[in-house]
């Protein structure tokens, strides 16, 4: 996704990336980034929590329109209200994705 943001930005359209992995966004030279410490699948927060969704969206507007330099990153100070181990389980697919199955078969994952 950072690469899509870069290509679209290079075509003259301002972009902002709202992401659970802002370190990756920075590393891949994303023009504008808003970081959230939320489980995967939830860049704008919890279902039906309009206040949380608006908080993230407003920060995205702010960074999109207000950032004055390439590589701007703003992290949102919101804690996920569900215990980590439950949220960690809940975002994952019902079975491992094909690539993860392949990694497991080939013992490419360093299981700790």
């Amino acid at each position: 996704m950072p690469v899509l943001a870069r290509w679209i930005e290079a075509a003259g359209i301002p972009t902002v990336l709202v992401t659970m992995m802002p370190d990756l966004a920075t590393k891949l030279f994303t023009p504008r980034t808003v970081g959230v410490e939320f489980p995967f699948g939830h860049p704008f927060g919890l279902p039906h929590d309009t206040a949380m969704q608006n908080r993230v969206l407003d920060e995205a507007f702010h960074v999109l329109a207000g950032a004055d330099r390439f590589g701007t990153r703003v992290d949102i100070d919101l804690e996920w209200p569900i215990p980590r181990k439950d949220a960690y389980k809940a975002w994952q697919p019902p079975e491992p994705s094909p690539i993860v199955k392949l990694w497991i078969e080939r013992e490419m994952l360093n299981r700790q």
Binding site: I13, F29, H42
Partner: protein, 164 residues
């Protein structure tokens, strides 16, 4: 606060993300010149969302057969979107189907336009399926040019991208 990018990632996946290399390093920058309250804003989600009644799903059968491949096509989602399906083998669908706004906040964007925080909601938005081949050839050659043409045609002033 500094977000911990790895808080919800299985520990064994971490090296995969840490070893990613940039496609380009030049500082691409399109200045945002209008007032937000006069601007037309579009959304892009990587959740593999599609319109259940009128669009094909992303190709998950091929991904199951070729695990390093991901469908590089994109779908156009109108602001009034109706029933949606999801096609993404790397996340749970439960919460997004319960409230698509957590990945694609079209209702919040519509309210922002009604309240004057932005000018207007773009007529068309974008959905891709975020798991892609390492080379990104499909995205580079077809999908990105297609998305850019659509955004230019709709005179979009800014795009909010949200990977899942």
């Amino acid at each position: 606060m500094i977000v911990d990018s790895y808080r919800f990632l299985p520990r064994s996946f971490r090296p995969i993300y840490e070893n990613v290399r940039p496609d380009g390093t030049d500082p691409v920058w399109a200045p945002f010149e209008k007032r937000l309250s006069d601007s037309r804003i579009a959304l892009l989600t990587s959740s593999g969302m599609f319109l259940e009644d009128s669009q094909e799903s992303f190709d998950l059968d091929r991904e199951r057969a070729e695990p390093t491949w991901g469908d590089p096509s994109f779908r156009t989602i109108p602001a009034q979107m109706g029933a949606i399906g999801l096609a993404h083998l790397h996340i749970s669908y439960d919460d997004i189907l319960d409230d698509p706004n957590i990945a694609f906040p079209i209702d919040r964007l519509t309210e922002a336009a009604a309240g004057g925080r932005i000018g207007e909601v773009a007529p068309r938005h974008i959905s891709v399926m975020g798991f892609q081949e390492k080379s990104l050839e499909g995205w580079r050659k077809l999908t990105a040019p297609g998305i850019i043409e659509l955004l230019h045609r709709d005179e979009v002033d800014g795009l909010i991208l949200a990977p899942v």
